[in-house]
């Protein structure tokens, strides 16, 4: 028998395999959605938290920090910052507020964003909400993030 390895079979495997695994991916996505309510801390999703997410986004915090490990690696992880700051939104607010306008000579420093009191409260509440998301093995591995 001569060697059989046809382009049409390779093509069928590409189309068939792609559809198959995409459907499987959708099935696993469905299974994930069943599970989200147990983990995603949606009970804490109040309007102020939603506003906090907007503050978080419109100041591009993810451009320096990671949140649950995703983002930039220039500044500390914030998924557990609420716990690291002693379970205190006040401490978070005080830190953001205290950033010097001109930075710290020779060192990395978070910009002074001049947030209003409401925005400060909102972003702190958002970080508190984020710390309540139940990640597998309670990631990050320790309080340092």
């Amino acid at each position: 028998m001569s060697e059989t390895f046809t382009k049409s079979m390779a093509r069928n495997i590409f189309y068939g395999g792609s559809v198959f695994f995409f459907l499987l991916f959708l099935a696993l996505t469905f299974a994930s959605h069943q599970e989200f309510p147990k983990r995603d801390n949606h009970e804490a999703l109040t309007p102020i938290v939603a506003k906090g997410k907007r503050v978080w986004e419109t100041h591009d915090c993810i451009g320096c920090h990671t949140l649950l490990g995703e983002g930039a690696y220039f500044a500390p992880e914030l998924g557990n910052v609420y716990k690291r700051f002693g379970n205190s939104t006040e401490a978070i607010k005080a830190f953001i507020k205290s950033r010097p306008v001109d930075g710290v000579p020779g060192r990395r420093s978070m910009p002074q964003f001049n947030l209003s009191d409401e925005e400060l409260e909102a972003v702190a509440q958002f970080l508190k909400y984020a710390s309540g998301i139940k990640t597998v093995r309670s990631w990050p591995p320790n309080i340092k993030g």
Partner: protein
């Protein structure tokens, strides 16, 4: 005995795919075994909630359908196109039996509230069997396409690579279950 081939039956492309699939299952099997070794009690306890009678029927169904597929290939080698299509139809029917029985089993577990996240045992049980379930479905689609083409006279004793290709995939689905059945249902 006829001269040996350098290549397995069917299109080589399907064998590359079969190797990839077997690889995934192999890793899944090993992962099951090693995870079980860390949670022996949990696995032994929840394994008893499985009904091995269902699995027996399913194993018999898959082996039988694999046998029918062998007969289909034999038929087309003798240029019996209709007979080839009939054997394939019978194989697909046995695949259908598998799907029905497996669905009944799933129904039993789902109505008991079991999900992928219930515990590690059920995570593996559902992942492995559902992944395989999808393969049975996929194999049936492939066999159906081959059967249709055979009915229309698309294969002959001199050109039946397509039949062998579909057959090889289907045997792979059977092969995986041959390991899955004792591993998940019987070994403890």
């Amino acid at each position: 005995m006829t001269e040996k081939n350098r290549q397995p039956p069917g299109d080589l492309a399907i064998w590359i795919f079969i190797c990839a699939e077997l690889g995934v299952f192999a890793v899944f099997f090993a992962a099951y075994a090693f995870t079980r070794a860390q949670h022996v009690e949990l696995f032994n306890r929840y394994q008893q909630t499985l009904n091995s009678n269902y699995a027996l029927i399913n194993t018999l169904a898959l082996i039988t359908s694999s046998y029918f597929v062998v007969r289909a290939v034999a038929a087309i080698r003798d240029d019996h196109q209709r007979s080839c299509a009939r054997w394939l139809g019978a194989a697909i029917a046995m695949g259908g039996v598998f799907l029905v029985v497996k669905s009944m089993e799933y129904h039993h577990h789902f109505s008991a509230g079991v999900t992928l996240s219930t515990n590690t045992f059920y995570m593996f049980y559902l992942s492995l069997t559902f992944f395989h379930f999808m393969h049975v479905l996929m194999g049936m689609v492939i066999l159906a396409a081959v059967a249709l083409k055979a009915r229309r006279g698309g294969y002959s004793a001199s050109a039946y690579t397509g039949v062998e290709t579909g057959a090889s995939y289907w045997h792979m689905v059977d092969l995986v279950w041959i390991i899955l059945f004792p591993l998940v249902y019987v070994m403890r």
